[in-house]
Symmetry: C2
Subunit: 300 residues, 2 copies
Amino acid sequence: MSVVIVGSLAFDTIHTPFASREKILGGACTYSAIAASHFTKPLITGVVGEDFGEKEFSLLHSKKIDTSGVKKEQGKSFFWEGRYHLDMNTRDTLKTELNVFERFDPEVPESYRDVPFLFLANIDPPLQLKVLNSMRKLKFSMVDTMNLWIEIKKRELTEVFSRVDCVVLNDSEIRQFTGKANLLQGAREIQKIGPKYVIIKKGEHGASIVGRQGFYFPSASYPVEDVADPTGAGDSFAGAFIGFLAQQNKVNENTLKKALVYGNATASFTVEGFGTERISQINRRDIDNRVKAIRALSIF
Amino acid sequence: MSVVIVGSLAFDTIHTPFASREKILGGACTYSAIAASHFTKPLITGVVGEDFGEKEFSLLHSKKIDTSGVKKEQGKSFFWEGRYHLDMNTRDTLKTELNVFERFDPEVPESYRDVPFLFLANIDPPLQLKVLNSMRKLKFSMVDTMNLWIEIKKRELTEVFSRVDCVVLNDSEIRQFTGKANLLQGAREIQKIGPKYVIIKKGEHGASIVGRQGFYFPSASYPVEDVADPTGAGDSFAGAFIGFLAQQNKVNENTLKKALVYGNATASFTVEGFGTERISQINRRDIDNRVKAIRALSIF
């Protein structure tokens, strides 16, 4: 099965303590769609500006990503500039220019609406709701968000949470949303709103999935010694996770655990290069090999 | 085989966002010895004041901990008071009174000196060196430390590192000691000083061990929903780790991996109660069952 993904397509200027890149392809939708493309066909919805050209579309099309839901509008694409701290886990935003994203009103093409898998990457919660409302045959839907929406649109976000199967958040977002110090307690609070599953992203430490009736699975991240750029790791994780599930077309404890490991494996490639460089180069066999390596590491 | 442990025996006043306890038994040596006692016989070295009485010694003796290396001196025992933040991972130190610990000069009893396993819990590095120099038949030695010594006694600490088999540090200490953002790179830097193994403690996220020739094993922590008090989790982890190794009397990749899981399992009990409450109540079967649960969780 294929997967619909909605989120930002952007340009990023990224500074790490070791290097910088100017205006490279970025955005949550971009990362998660490329990650998902290693498993299934992603159909994406988003908005770009005039600066988003042939080069960017070619990359997406080379990954067999359906971009018929991407609107091109007058003006510039969403732009983000950030600087990572020495620990490569925390970062400061230096600039956020919404540009065409400010007026983004996602329209889900008719050809997308019967797709059973959906990933709502981080965008304004009312827009996530609009996309949800457009989908007719959902089997598994997942949502990501960010601290800003938890702060200023918690009500709308809660409504989105109530209507999806899985919420994927990082540890600090879970604490912010629920006010719970303990991540498992936080996950339980979110489950009370509706979603069966909560995925806790822990950055360099991996991710865990929390289900009901005691279902819990932690997946350590693959050890990467040379992290070039952590940008997009979480989005790649989510894209590969749902891409794998869509390909399996089966959602159960077994496929969810494997999907989590596939997510971690894919994200470990993302951080090895700047932007989408590395995750665009690899193929499914590379990911399979990394999953094998993670499996070998986990045996005791 | 048994294990020698040197470190602090103390009283702690602990505040969490949910409760407080006044002047309860604490200290790195205490936690690690009680944890190790579930696997083997710990022989401890330390100093206590007149306030460390029959009750405290009884608890240690009930765990078959040899306290013949513990000196009782005039004055009060080491005292620490701290307050945990809402996340239960970070804390502020409100008070540190060294008391008798200020003049601590560990003397390793003759009966300890041929013991093959040694854990140097966090104390002043020159004292750790003195203990190392007293040991005659070491097979496996491990050291912990803290940010203060990295800051003010790095030279002496580096000498300690150069003489042990394993260094156990938390993520921020590895970054502080090595200046490396990446924890694996940091571990490699420490290995260059001498130790074959570096254990990276990641708090609620578990721990990883880094060896040579690609040996790497991450162990996720057991999911505890109700953390009462995180104090002593790292020390319990380390004590159970070396206690398990000492009991096996074999140090290889297989036993090291298992020791890491046993360390995580034991530490998961520590945080379920205040101070040493919970870790003193449990028995080996409880720990074995938790290891089984961790194993079951890790399969995908």
